[in-house]
Amino acid sequence: MNPFLENYGGLLLLISFGALVFAFFVMFRTSRRRPRFRAIHAFSLLRGQMGRAIESGRDLHVSIGTGGVSGDDTATTLAGLAVAEYLADEAAASGIAPLVSTSDPTSAILAEDAVRRPYVRQGNLNDFPRGAARLPALNPTQYAAATMDLLNHEPVLANIMSGAFGPEAALIDQAASSHDLPQLFGGSDPRALAVMATSADQMLLGEEMYAAKAYLRAQPWHLASLRALDVVRLVIVVVIVLAFFIGLVS
């Protein structure tokens, strides 16, 4: 037997099942109404945040973390980028962009692109503030120190962190908290989540982060993928519970 199938056959089965469920929700979408998902307050907080920043004349800092796009953190970084792009979309008409920062060079290129894209879509690329995506350091701890400096010295309205972070997030949190900045944190690392649970006003815990596009943009494809994810999760939970009881009985 193929060693990959031997080791990861279950995973492959799960992916295939997820793909089938996704295809089902895309093809047999009988209702035109938007499916209802549970409310995630962090996404509600994001809406209009850019408008408030523009009105107050202050920047909105969006950190997409320390992950790159060629490793374990790719999906988390892309989820963080979705938040940055949404905020850039809100701001594009005004010619002001959120201040996006990261410590990974590959993510910085994508971040610049994500912030620029709404300006291209709206046909006002000339208003795009170059350098909106910042790369203040190339290492997670140094990045945290540089972000502390940014929050301490630049006029920032709110601190949004969504991406791959380690425990160094506490350093950024300290700077934001000392200036009483509202904070939104989304991450997948339990250490960073534990640290940020002490002070973030709103949190996106693990899987909630990856639902950003479905909640913020509500495109049919994203909604279908979210529904497929819910079904797959339900199946996994049922399998775990069944396995537990079968183990108990046998």
Partner: protein, 211 residues
């Protein structure tokens, strides 16, 4: 034409490359060679991105210095250029003395052990203090049952690190069991979310690159 190069081509290349890498794990006998080539290309692209990143970093701090925004940016700029120059010299020396790599100066490890290491350790040590401050702030701001639960479990975990008494161990084990369940649930969600994102990128539903 512009749209082809900025949107269609990157999306198609990403999808095909991703599929080849994914399938190469299932059919290594056919696709392993392709995977190696693609990974080598990715390494070169990542190297170029690092170089561009360094230029961006210099550009950011240079602008901040020009705008007289921050004195620390000047220090960051000088140190970055200095370290870059010094390490480049070392690499070049090693390159020319390929048969005797030891003939090069051990600057790489010197910079790491004498500068980067201590700074990171200092920031790491500060983390503990900041966490303590954050816990106190949390207790002051949010007086909920959740906060109480969080603080009690944190204190129990800290106390059981001290090898004085085993009295709190059963409580620690209780908290550990709960935390482990939550952690597994969280990781399961992250894994599923990662799969969903990968799926959307492979099918070009999400296009993180291009317009």
């Amino acid at each position: 034409m512009r749209r082809f190069f900025t949107s269609t081509a990157p999306t198609v290349i990403t999808g095909i490359a991703g599929l080849i890498v994914l399938l190469s794990f299932i059919f290594p006998q056919y696709l392993l060679a392709f995977r190696v080539v693609l990974i080598n290309i990715a390494v070169i692209v990542a190297g170029m991105a690092l170089l561009l990143g360094f230029v961006r970093l210099l550009n950011l701090h240079l602008r901040r210095v020009q705008q007289r925004k921050n004195f620390y940016s000047l220090i960051a700029l000088i140190v970055a250029l200095l370290v870059f120059a010094v390490l480049s010299v070392e690499r070049l020396l090693n390159l020319f003395n390929a048969n005797q790599p030891a003939a090069g100066l051990p600057l790489n490890s010197l910079v790491f052990n004498s500068v980067i290491g201590p700074i990171q350790s200092t920031l790491g040590a500060l983390l503990a203090v900041f966490l303590g401050v954050a816990a106190v702030r949390m207790a002051q701001r949010r007086r909920t049952w959740g906060t109480l639960w969080f603080l009690v479990s944190a204190i129990v975990v800290l106390l059981t690190q001290i090898p004085v008494t085993d009295a709190l161990l059963p409580i620690r084990q209780f908290f550990d069991a709960l935390a482990m369940g939550g952690l597994r649930g969280l990781l399961l969600g992250v894994a599923l979310g990662t799969l969903a994102v990968a799926f959307r990128v492979l099918l070009a539903i999400d296009r993180p690159q291009g317009e």
